[in-house]
């Protein structure tokens, strides 16, 4: 974050405070929202998911104990509600990712950036999906097509690239909320190097802004946490 060693900038202190006071549930909720709205698959929140799983497991045991020991059923049911909510968030997060994988499995598999964003289980899932869908398509359709057209990935052998593979539409418009001031961006995606241009197309978000914007130019801002999707 580019401040001199030893001295914490106000921004860093803010971040730190936010970090220690934000519960995993809130982080999970944010990850879920981002994942739901983003057209591409985002990096897997491994640490967060692991922590959430552990907390949920612990809570499950606690609730079981409560029920067995005949503890106040009201309290037990309240804990159960909290548990259900946390489980819903976790499951929903994983489910949205799986949906995206199912949609873009070939593209994710062959694009390293995306492939690296998957967890280990998701990678296995993708592999199996590809195998199954490939086999299915081949048996039902592809083997009946003329020789040059039998690939799952290309329309025909003369295609220059894999044009049967759907790609995530990064130009969709999403609603984003600004958490921290973003860098000025040209709306066509190019970066500003120094200072401000006289052109009016640079775009800047300050905390609290709510915008509808095209996803592609703002990918990095999302990854760095400057904006979050709503």
């Amino acid at each position: 974050m580019g401040s001199s060693a030893g001295e914490w900038s106000a921004e860093q202190i803010d971040d730190y405070e936010t970090l220690i006071s934000t519960t995993d549930v809130e982080l999970l909720k944010k990850a879920w929202r981002n994942e739901k709205v983003s057209p591409e698959i985002l990096p897997f929140e491994e640490a967060l998911v692991k922590r959430a799983k552990e907390q949920i497991q612990l809570m499950e045991e606690t609730v079981d104990d409560f029920v067995e020991s005949g503890h106040d059923p009201l309290i037990a049911s309240l804990y159960q509600m909290d548990l259900d909510r946390a489980q819903f968030l976790l499951r929903s997060y994983l489910r949205v990712r799986l949906q995206k994988i199912e949609k873009f499995m070939f593209y994710i598999w062959k694009t390293d950036t995306y492939r690296n964003r998957l967890s280990m289980e998701e990678e296995k899932f993708t592999e199996r999906c590809i195998r199954d869908i490939g086999k299915h398509l081949e048996e039902t359709v592809l083997s009946n097509l003329p020789d040059n057209y039998q690939s799952v990935l290309n329309q025909s052998v003369i295609s220059e690239e894999d044009d049967m593979v759907p790609e995530p539409l990064l130009d969709t418009f999403v609603v984003a909320k600004c958490e921290r001031t973003t860098r000025p961006l040209y709306l066509d995606g190019s970066r500003q190097s120094t200072g401000f241009d006289s052109r009016d197309d640079h775009f800047l978000m300050v905390p609290g802004d709510l915008c509808i914007l095209r996803y592609r130019p703002f990918q990095e801002e999302l990854m760095s946490g400057n904006i979050s999707l709503v």
Binding site: S38, I56, Y79, D82, R85, D171, F173, F203, C211, L213
Partner: protein, 209 residues
């Protein structure tokens, strides 16, 4: 399913919006003693009779249903305040710092289970609905002024309102973008004219029902 960019993944269902709204904190007044609750989502309590405390909405409703507390309506939920907000929304162009997602959900829940806790409940509810209508109407009229921008700032809208306008605005802006930049969508760097079909990034033609 082929079609436009899969709205069903990126759209939040009403239940999901409700789920998110349920995490908002609200004040309750317990009528009995209860130990602190150490939830995954946070720690609440201890609960002492007649001492107000803040809890998430879902917890408040659960406790209220079991007769363990009374719910205190938030400050902004008074008839005077809401009337003022409504007037303000009608007059000004921009929107206030008013999170009406919270408002409507709260209204819904609290109406259901806390009728006795909120004075003038019907009035409050109809005011909130009016405010919502005015805001949505404002957003709609300002949408008419769009003309192919790449990004649009919108005034403070709640998640629910965003969810309502999202599909239309998203597709509208996308159509603008597409027409403004025909060379960018799709990637047509190929010279081959033997290709009768251009690479689709995603099957774009919606299936008409």
């Amino acid at each position: 399913m082929a079609g436009q960019s899969e709205p069903h993944i990126s759209l939040f269902s009403a239940e999901e919006v409700e789920f998110m709204a349920e995490d908002e904190l609200i004040e309750i007044v317990p009528n009995m003693r209860m130990a602190p609750l150490n939830f995954i989502c946070g720690d609440f309590g201890p609960f002492l009779p007649q001492i107000p405390t803040q809890v998430p909405l879902w917890l408040a409703v659960a406790l209220k249903k079991r007769g363990r507390c009374a719910i205190r309506p938030p400050q902004w939920m008074s008839v005077e305040n809401l009337t003022r907000v409504l007037e303000g929304e009608r007059e000004s162009q921009g929107s206030f710092q008013f999170n009406s997602m919270k408002a409507l959900i709260l209204c819904f829940f609290v109406d259901g289970s806390a009728r006795d806790d909120i004075p003038d409940m019907y009035m409050v509810r109809s005011l909130i609905e009016d405010i919502r209508d005015v805001r949505i109407h404002k957003v709609e009229t300002s949408l008419e002024k769009f003309s192919g921008t790449s990004a649009v700032k919108i005034p403070n809208l709640s998640a629910m309102e965003v969810n309502i306008i999202r599909p239309f605005v998203g597709r509208a802006l996308q159509a603008f973008y597409k027409h403004d930049n025909p060379e960018k969508i799709p990637d047509v760097d190929r010279a081959s004219s033997q290709q009768t079909r251009v690479a689709n990034n995603e099957p774009r033609r919606p299936l008409r029902r």
